[in-house]
């Protein structure tokens, strides 16, 4: 008997790690790995495309590069040759991580920051909610609170700046026509796929500089982290053997200068008034009550006195002429005969929730602590960019129109939300419980639907072969809000109509920008 026991323990001790090895995955990824790729096209006319905010591709000048046969350039080549000849493990990892231009990686970093800062302020002991203060970002609650409007706006600035900056980059690349270092000196060891793009200024350095500057403005507490990332990215271009230092220096200064143009827009787009004080928030509520006979009330304990950004609907739009153009008609009055079937539908869903409905609700929840719906669609766009091996200019074009569309979607949706001030299901349906947390803003229209259909429309334009998938995702993202118990069907339908219209407005600008 004693022997049996020892045998049993021995077997258990041996077997347990084996059992767990099979289900305990050591490599749960914290970023999306992909192989650096050769660009499908180079778009050598890219320097003639129309920027969105810059007045022209040549608006910002950069110094002429030294000639390839100059001693200065030869010295740079020689330094590059030494730097790329032998990489440490860390350097090789950095080259692979940034994969050259680094645009999708910076998009991932932007998503990461959106998720990190997407936490609502906690109430203090007196039951009051302090607000983040951009003038003192490190004092709790940290600035920013990257809720869906904030995140959509952040992505829009990051992406549209990249696009304008890369049009300018292409302009200068082809104006100066400095060949890649490895084209001049074939003995340089490279660690990335080669391409025939002129190398001055470095597109990677432009992307790093724009990302660092824009994301630091939007997430000021990440200044050091972003500086470190940008430095590593720029160094990775040297380690990879694809850019000399003067390519990088020129790209860096071009990127910063383009951001300075966008910075002016960021400071004056009206966002700073969006998170209103309580008296203004109350007056918006009272106006809705007077007009419609209903108003939304936050249901948290203690109640949050002001919803998320009541005046975000007044923020400057990117491509939609005005919010009224895409604002839907009014929803049915709460408690009306017309309203009741919609409420019943939500009760029925909640009472009979299937496992698949639960999964859909959770998969698309994109709530607090996540990169928000706009981040989710940026992730899809990144995957498409990698799949289609887009060069950074063309990739930035996708990101720019996608994110300007979602920026406009956020603005238009928030206009409707506070214009109609419609109560959430937990306010109108007595005793209603939900599997998702109800957000701190009115119900009509659904942000998920507006964001998702605008995004699907734009991505379908750029990647028509996957249009069907984008539509399925937009449908799923939208219906997920009903499964979660936080939106009525009419919220979703109105959001869909607005989202599709916003997508069309955006595409109408894209098709005449020269990049079709």
């Amino acid at each position: 008997m004693k022997n049996n026991l020892y045998l049993f323990f021995l077997l258990t001790v041996i077997a347990t790690p084996i059992i767990f090895q099979s289900c305990d995955d050591e490599s749960i990824p914290s970023y999306i790995a992909f192989d650096p790729y050769e660009y499908a096209t180079l778009d050598d006319d890219g320097g003639t495309w129309n920027p969105n905010v810059m007045t022209s591709p040549s608006q910002i000048g950069i110094p002429s590069p030294t000639a390839v046969n100059s001693p200065e350039y030869q010295a740079e080549l020689s330094a590059l040759k030494t730097a790329s000849a032998q990489l440490t493990g860390e350097q090789a990892n950095a080259v692979e991580y940034w994969a050259g231009d680094g645009l999708v990686r910076w998009n991932e970093i932007a998503r990461e920051l959106a998720a990190k800062y997407n936490l609502a302020p906690a109430p203090d002991s007196a039951g009051n909610y302090p607000a983040p203060n951009p003038a003192n970002p490190s004092k709790y609650p940290l600035f920013p609170f990257a809720h869906p409007p904030y995140a959509s706006r952040a992505f829009a600035y990051w992406a549209s700046t990249q696009y304008d900056a890369l049009i300018a980059t292409w302009h200068h690349k082809y104006a100066f026509n400095r060949p890649a270092p490895y084209a001049t000196d074939a003995t340089i060891v490279t660690h990335l796929p080669k391409n025939a793009l002129p190398s001055y200024p470095s597109d990677g350095a432009v992307i790093a500089a724009v990302s660092q500057a824009s994301l630091t403005a939007l997430f000021p507490l990440e200044k050091d982290f972003l500086a470190e990332k940008a430095a590593e990215h720029k160094n990775s271009l040297i380690w990879a053997g694809v850019n000399v230092q003067s390519d990088i220096t020129a790209g860096d200064s071009l990127g910063r200068a383009v951001w300075n143009i966008f910075k002016g827009r960021l400071g004056s787009d009206g966002f700073k008034f969006a998170q209103t004080p309580k008296p203004i928030s109350d007056s918006i509520r009272d106006a809705a009550e007077a007009r419609w006979g209903w108003h939304w009330v936050n249901q948290e304990t203690p109640p949050r006195p002001v919803g998320i950004t009541p005046l975000f609907g007044k923020v400057k739009l990117w491509n939609v002429p005005n919010v009224e153009e895409v604002r839907p008609g009014p929803p049915p009055a709460p408690g009306s005969l017309e309203f009741e079937p919609y409420a019943k539908e939500l009760r029925d869903i909640a009472d009979n929730l299937t496992k698949d409905q639960r999964r859909v609700a959770n998969f698309w929840s994109d709530g607090l602590g996540t990169y928000t719906p706009a981040g989710h669609w940026n992730r899809f766009a990144s995957n498409e960019i990698i799949k289609n091996r887009l060069n950074p200019l063309r990739a930035a074009r996708v990101f720019a129109y996608l994110n300007m569309a979602m920026g406009d979607a956020g603005i238009a949706c928030w206009d409707a939300k506070y214009f109609y001030h419609y109560p959430r299901p937990i306010q109108t349906i007595p005793g209603f419980k939900t599997i998702l947390g109800t957000p701190n803003f009115p119900s009509y229209t659904s942000g998920h639907s507006t964001f998702s259909y605008a995004a699907a429309e734009v991505l379908s334009h750029f990647f028509p072969e996957d249009a069907g998938t984008f539509t399925v995702w937009a449908d799923e993202a939208s219906i997920s809000r009903m499964y979660g118990g936080i939106h009525y069907r009419f919220d979703i339908e109105a959001g869909k109509q607005a989202g599709l219209l916003i997508g069309e407005h955006t595409i109408n600008v894209a098709i005449v920008d020269g990049g079709e």
């Binding site: 049996n4 049993f8 304990t301 996540t370 990169y371 209603f432 419980k433 118990g485």
Partner: protein, 316 residues
């Protein structure tokens, strides 16, 4: 050799964990004799209205009081004189008094343990025993582990090895210490991105391993019909992350607690094989867990499954 406790019922000890979660594990030194089975059903009511967000003890008006009720059927079978098998399958239900998040209910984690006697020696005025258990638990339904305090369980496989050392005086008083190591597999979310201290692009949740431990002082009274004991114990995740300010709890949080409790187990002298158990536990300190107060009540019944030469007559 003297039988340890021919009429005791080995029970699982329920660890009150997490903002919500629980696990159960055998921690006592009782062995069922060969051929004898003990079946039990224990109901537990566990509530908290404060929890630790990281190290900050707080209330949350959108949760109010969280109540978790568990009904746990279990069985312990003596398959050898020094060798028991234990199985359990709890059903749980969660709900909160505040907020509008729906509670949930369903089967939690099945559990299966092997328990053996490594040392059983008479020393001085009593006996020293060392028991070992090896067990595995895992989700018995597809409950959502990523459901904050409402989740039915941690959603991961948990393989635990535990040692249980006890010295029991012949007069009935005993002192016991136990400690176990929990090797934990991944839990699963229904989304493929979440943020811990960094973003994670997976629906898999890497669960940190953990240790749990406890000390118990108890005694048998009234001719071995009543057992009374007090215990102190704890649970420590060996890694993991804090709940960020105003964020929702997550399965891979660094969960730590210490608990004090007491209980009794009684066997009716006249009714062969029947008994009941009562216990209460209070979480004293914690990190990323609820400050739970839990009460349990259950009935036990043991009877011979098969007759062997070694099966002793049951006499209460």
């Amino acid at each position: 050799m003297k039988k340890i406790l021919p009429f005791g019922c080995s029970l699982l000890f329920t660890i009150s964990l997490v903002t919500s979660l629980k696990s159960q594990t055998p921690t006592d030194a009782i062995m069922m004799s060969k051929g004898l089975i003990c079946v039990a059903v224990v109901y537990t009511n566990d509530t908290w209205d404060e929890y630790w967000e990281g190290e900050l003890l707080r209330v949350n008006g959108n949760v109010g009081t969280l109540t978790r009720q568990t009904i746990m059927p279990m069985a312990t079978l003596g398959i050898g004189e020094r060798f028991n098998i234990i199985a359990a399958l709890p059903w749980a239900k969660t709900e909160s008094s505040g907020g509008q998040i729906a509670g949930t209910s369903g089967l939690q984690d099945w559990g299966f343990w092997l328990k053996g006697t490594a040392i059983d020696a008479e020393i001085g005025p009593g006996s020293l025993t060392l028991h070992g258990t090896a067990g595995i638990t895992g989700p018995a339904s597809n409950y959502l582990a990523d459901y904050g305090p409402y989740s039915l369980g941690l959603g991961c496989a948990d393989g635990t090895l535990r040692g249980i050392l006890q010295y029991k005086l012949n007069m009935g008083v005993y002192l016991r210490g136990q400690a176990g190591y929990h090797l934990r597999g991944n839990a699963r979310a229904e989304r493929d991105y979440y943020y811990t201290t960094h973003g994670v692009y997976s629906d898999k949740i890497d669960m940190p391993d953990a240790v749990s431990w406890g000390a118990t002082l108890g005694t048998w009274l009234f001719n071995n019909s009543l057992k009374v004991e007090a215990n102190y114990g704890g649970f420590n995740s060996l890694d993991g992350h804090d709940i960020r300010r105003q964020d929702v709890g997550f399965p891979s949080n660094e969960m730590i607690n210490t608990t004090i409790g007491g209980g009794l187990q009684y066997y009716f002298p006249g009714i062969q094989g029947f008994g009941f158990v009562l216990s209460a536990h209070q979480v004293l300190t914690g990190r990323n867990v609820g400050k739970s107060t839990a009460y349990s009540a259950g009935v036990t019944y043991f009877f011979p499954v098969w007759k062997t030469d070694e099966t002793e007559p049951i006499e209460n």
